[in-house]
Amino acid sequence: MLRKIKNRALKEQLTLGGTMAFFAGMVNVTAFLAFYVFSSNVTGYYAILGAEIADGNVYQIAIVFTWIFLFLTGSFVASLIVNRYKKRKKYIAFTLVVVIEILCLFAVGCYGVNFYAETLSETEVLVALMLFSMGLQNGMTSSISKFAVKTTHLTGATTDLGVLLAMLTQKSNRNNHSVIAKTKLLGITAISYLMGAVFSGLVYFEIGFYVLYITCALLFFVLIFNWIKASKVVLYSWNALASPFI
């Protein structure tokens, strides 16, 4: 029974990590190709912030600090929403956060398609929105999975993957379910991120900002799928509760 629960939990984590990492890869590459900056390279931004402070570039300091701050804010907002809802209403928390993410990305896509004049101010605001949405996503996946899944934190994922692969060289770890599960999770996250990045990179040169519309549509499908699954769980629970009386 416990194994069944563990397997179901792993399956959910793999699905969550894989799909959201794919979208994160798409968004990150779109940001790079459109604006020449990344939308989730926070480690890099800390380094850049340090370099800009050393060089005394006031404008760049303000911009990079704001981007980091907005990523943090996105994660903060996601965690607030997830923690507000109790375990049974996890799907509502997921839905709310993904809806906000869709709105942010849709706004960027819409503006990019119709109004973007490539001024620096527009670039900074649009990138800020994308960073906020990535913070939301990373915060949500991290909170929902109790810090097991982080979809835009590839530095940590790659580090942990290296550690786990080294652990698997020992026989005792090869029989350890949690080590194997974690390795699978991180591997799927990295591969999915890369696939999303490649897809976006190929498609962006053909359709530009419309890539973000595709991202929003795919996120929406994920939402629908999760709601259908959630409805079945609620229905099953209701039937289970009601069965003595039927």
Binding site: Y36, I48, N57, Y59, Q60, A62, T66, F76, T119, S121
Partner: protein, 152 residues
């Protein structure tokens, strides 16, 4: 409740501070406007085992022509950035028109030409009086050329 208010105040102040900086004279889009005279081409990094690296510091005209062969800017000593996004490149005998855009966090100068060619330069330093650009910004490329300009 008080903590929530504190968070909101911190967020608002941070965003307001950023807004002020973006719309101040530190903005590279404002700083770059006007006329610039090319001062010197130099190597930012020299890929040479020669101990006397200083002799490579300044790029000769011949090397400059080789580097800038495919770059539209290599024959233009005077640059004029106009507010409407037009860039006038004045050489000895001709004036070339292009479009300029600043991208990224204000560290990339992109020049678009009429023939759809795009050139990207890393803005190393920009102030009221000086502008320093690097060709590309890939740290693995050694022998990167650096263009320095003075305000006219």
């Amino acid at each position: 409740m008080r903590l929530g208010l504190f968070y909101i105040v911190v967020l608002s102040l941070s965003l307001f501070a950023c807004y002020r900086v973006v719309h101040s004279n530190y903005n590279p889009e404002r700083l770059v406007l006007g006329e610039w005279d090319e001062l010197v081409w130099a190597y930012d990094k020299v890929n040479s085992k020669d101990s006397n690296v200083a002799k490579y510091k300044t790029i000769t005209d011949e090397v400059k022509n080789n580097i800038g062969e495919n770059l539209i800017i290599h024959e233009s000593e005077h640059w004029q950035f106009l507010p409407d996004g037009t860039l006038l490149l004045r050489g000895k005998d001709k004036i070339t028109h292009a479009k300029w855009i600043i991208k990224g966090r204000g560290h990339v100068l992109q020049i678009k030409h009429d023939d759809k060619r795009i050139e990207n330069y890393n803005i190393v330093h920009i102030s009221k009086h000086n502008l320093v650009l690097n060709f590309e910004w890939d740290l693995e490329i050694r022998g990167i050329a650096q263009l320095s300009f003075n305000r006219k």
